[in-house]
């Protein structure tokens, strides 16, 4: 298990060592177009409401809301909402210039600015699971080569669009407010039209770039769904490292390998032997996911090894293998579909599962 988890990290580290930091003007833009989709909320991650087990190491959103309606891995329907924020950007972002954000290769300011805090609450909507769960998630981005703020080509493209919109006669002081508003609106439309292309090109360059995040999240569970019975239910620690194959020409624009490790304590899971009852479980998971895609669709293959210790029962180890796809339905709306099966359970209780969810959120995905 341990060696499996180390494979993507070691491979990525070797490739990163060989990688040259891309400089403005040296990017090769392929005809394909890949999107980042909506990043998983850290709080949703610990509550098990992301269809994939392996968390993608993406740049966090500054202020976002995510809704999830779907079936969890235990087959129970869940609804939930998560609020994600980057506290530094909210509290001190007015003084953070793009120059300071980009200033150094290793920057404390950038690390703090990317730190994300999220809160999520979910509710089971089936007879077998009426529980309510809450989580407070913290996510730290150690590095992210796909951060659009670090893409010099994108920034120059936006600046050029702005300069173009600012050309022409200046707005005179004696212009009426209506005249001013009309000119400003025209300039915004001009920039937006060009910026859309700038960002689309940047996504093609950056969607699968290497990155590394770590996360932590305490959680609370109420087995009957009432607030008065909400109790602490352990915590989770996890890390994901993504390798974008920046030095492998065949793969660098189409593929990403993500290694993932997660440790979870005192998770309240439905007891498979007693409907409506819950077990306290500690678990460790390690695995990897390979993503590949074209257009606004990505496919992924995931293999994860689990070691779980349900309270009062024998530990169990098993694999979860899944294949999934994300499809952009419209701006900020993604359909996520995952098929999978477990294998290796001692009680031969391996499950086959199909997870679907609509992810809707205020995401950075245009």
């Amino acid at each position: 298990m341990r060696s499996l988890a180390l494979i993507p990290g070691s491979l990525c580290a070797a490739l990163l060592l060989a990688a040259q930091t891309p400089s403005p003007g040296t990017f090769k833009i392929s005809k394909g177009s890949l999107d980042l989709s909506i990043p998983e909320s850290p709080a949703f991650t610990v509550l098990g409401l992301t269809p994939e087990t392996v968390v993608r190491p993406t740049t966090p959103r500054e202020l976002a809301t995510s809704l999830v309606n779907g079936v969890d891995r235990n087959g129970n329907f869940q609804t939930g909402v998560a609020i994600d924020t980057a506290p530094y950007m909210l509290l001190a972002g007015n003084t953070l210039t793009i120059g300071r954000y980009r200033a150094q290769k290793m920057s404390v300011t950038r690390f703090v600015a990317r730190t994300q805090v999220s809160f999520a609450i979910t509710k089971g909507a089936s007879e077998a699971d009426k529980s309510a769960r809450m989580a407070l998630g913290f996510r730290f981005t150690l590095f992210d080569n796909g951060d659009p703020r670090l893409d010099g080509v994108l920034l120059q493209c936006l600046a050029d669009a702005q300069q173009k919109a600012l050309s022409g006669d200046p707005i005179p002081p004696n212009a009426t407010e209506e005249q001013q508003a009309a000119i400003l609106r025209k300039r915004e439309e001009s920039v937006k039209a060009i910026a859309k292309t700038c960002r689309a090109d940047a996504q093609k360059r950056n969607w699968n770039n290497s990155s590394w995040i770590i996360g932590a999240a305490p959680s609370w569970t109420s087995s009957d769904g009432t607030t008065r019975n909400m109790k602490a239910s352990g915590y989770a620690l996890w890390s994901s490292i993504g390798c974008g194959f920046e030095t492998v020409p065949v793969l660098k624009d189409t593929s990403q390998l993500i290694g993932h490790f997660r440790y979870r304590t005192k998770e309240q899971v439905p007891d498979p032997q007693a409907a409506g009852k819950f077990l306290s479980q500690d678990s460790t998971a390690a695995g990897a996911r390979l993503r590949a895609g074209t257009g606004t669709t990505t496919a992924n293959f995931e293999g994860v090894f689990f070691h779980a210790k349900p309270g009062g029962r024998k530990p169990e180890e098993y694999w979860r293998i899944s294949f999934g796809a994300e499809r952009k339905i419209s701006d900020n709306l993604w359909l996520v579909l995952t098929f999978g099966r477990e294998t290796g359970r001692k009680d031969n209780n391996d499950k086959v599962f199909i997870l679907t969810s609509f992810n809707w959120g205020f995401a950075q995905n245009e």
Partner: protein, 127 residues
């Protein structure tokens, strides 16, 4: 007529300087003009963006006395590297003499940003 702020300069202090700061780690471009007392006869005194390595700080090129009652305008556009709701923008314009921000010399625009935002600010100098 546009809404014009008053910025008070000191005739005893040095030549006024202006600094443009785009916050929230967004991309910003600007151009600034000096107008006569009647808001006519513009003269571009600076333009730039925060992507190039050049400082976004410049002198108005006149003494405080010569700037008395003249109008200054600054036009700016701010763009987020990633589009989408839930983001903020911040534009700060600072007027300094001898390195010190003058009275009413800090003008700040903040708000929500989902893509790009165009702004204009007018200032009349008094001594």
């Amino acid at each position: 007529m546009a809404n014009i702020r008053i910025v008070k300069l000191s005739s005893a202090a040095g030549p006024p300087e202006v600094e443009i700061i785009f916050g929230q780690a967004h991309v910003g471009s600007y151009r600034c003009f000096l107008w006569d007392k009647n808001g006519e006869n513009s003269q571009e005194i600076a333009h730039g963006n925060n992507v190039d390595p050049l400082p976004d700080k410049f002198s108005l090129g006149l003494s405080a006395t010569d700037l008395n009652q003249r109008i200054f305008s600054c036009e700016a556009i701010i763009s987020a590297p990633s589009s989408g709701p839930g983001q903020l923008f911040s534009l700060t314009i600072l007027f300094r003499q001898d390195g010190i921000v003058v009275s009413n010399g800090m003008i700040q625009h903040n708000g929500a940003l989902d893509d790009s935002k165009a702004l204009v600010e007018f200032v009349r100098f008094t001594v």
